[in-house]
Symmetry: C3
Subunit: 161 residues, 3 copies
């Protein structure tokens, strides 16, 4: 199955990639690498999970938030790569988790994103990862996720406007 | 206008790039990419903004701190690239903001840095970004900023000593 | 001295590289670069330093924790590079320090890792670095460290399984 077919089989649809925010952009390509900006768990234009884990948001919900942020990152990557079939490797995923005092299960939350990449891409979806807790995130999001990927094809130097 | 002319028109001067701290260095070049170490809002050898946002440092001051850290990163980049005209792309900016409980406007703070890169470099200054809150930073700085950039020219493998 | 001889002279042995955790892997190689996942201060399969700095763990202990996490990252890098002599440059080190309120000496903690890289590799061990405080880390580890390195040799596209 192609990544697009795999997405469909999981009942997932890529959201429209977010518009440029201001002086920073959804992603930048340099050589074979694409760096995707930190993504929040937006769904249909609304932040779906806000607050601290596990007091405001359960671990399961936070994992879903990480999956949602990953889906947004994939939407950006799909546009940058023209097609997800041009992705050669998910290289690195950074996950920041809005953590209540004493919460130390950040890996379980980040797995929500990591599992999605593996489901969509198989072996080339397995990535290096850093998952850490932080005390506050933009808009009180439960999770922020950034992504670095390698492209196989070279559809010209491209950057989202 | 060249980046240097643009800096001048903004009334800005690059500070002397910081000396190597110890076992780590201001930046490392690998292929086309330069990774700049985390920079604090130093001005004339003194940390200009310390404490948490927005309780000790206002959002506007914190944005100025981010701009200052960005200027220090540019000074390092300018030395690594021989000349800022050799910069092909600002690739990724990571901004860590010393956040008081309940502060969720990290993007407004990070814009202080992002806007500077766009002002100096135009389109190639627009970058991928991750901005997150943290509970503590080195020397109680209000902001720490790290940078990845792509160079166009290849003035030999170079690393600041 | 080769890096392996240097390790030996310091009385250090690389631990067995950690097994893949799940959907993420110990490291990913893309072109000349290897991205190593966030490492904790594991020793003989046990987390050696847990809690916040400096209340639960002293600065000196935390620096030792950073050194231990760096040693684990080196074990992964050694396997990815076939041999540490194939490492061309330690590029970037990210250090997250589990920080008690008011702790601002993150650089002293991170030096535990930075010094090790310089001891083992000399000049090519000197790296770009970002060291920040965070309020919580996985498994309550005192430190988490991630690493990007450049390889000189190309032993084929390789990724730890």
């Amino acid at each position: 199955m192609t990544p697009d077919e795999k997405l469909k089989s999981l009942g997932l649809t890529l959201p429209p990639p977010p518009k440029p925010v201001a002086s920073y952009v959804p992603c930048v390509r340099t050589g074979h690498l694409v760096f995707v900006s930190g993504q929040l768990p937006f769904k249909d234009g609304k932040l779906a999970f806000t607050g601290k884990v596990p007091t405001d948001v359960s671990i399961e919900q936070a994992a879903e938030a990480a999956r949602l942020a990953a889906l947004n990152a994939l939407a950006i990557l799909a546009e940058a790569a023209s097609n997800l079939e041009n992705v050669a490797q998910i290289v690195r995923v950074g996950v920041f988790i809005n953590s209540a005092d004493g919460f130390t299960d950040q890996p379980k939350v980040a797995n929500g994103a990591s599992d999605l990449f593996a489901e969509i891409f198989g072996d080339i979806g397995r990535h290096a990862r850093a998952a850490v807790g932080v005390n506050e995130l933009p808009l009180n999001a439960a999770v922020e996720l950034e992504l670095t990927a390698e492209l196989a094809a070279w559809p010209g130097y491209f950057r989202l406007k």
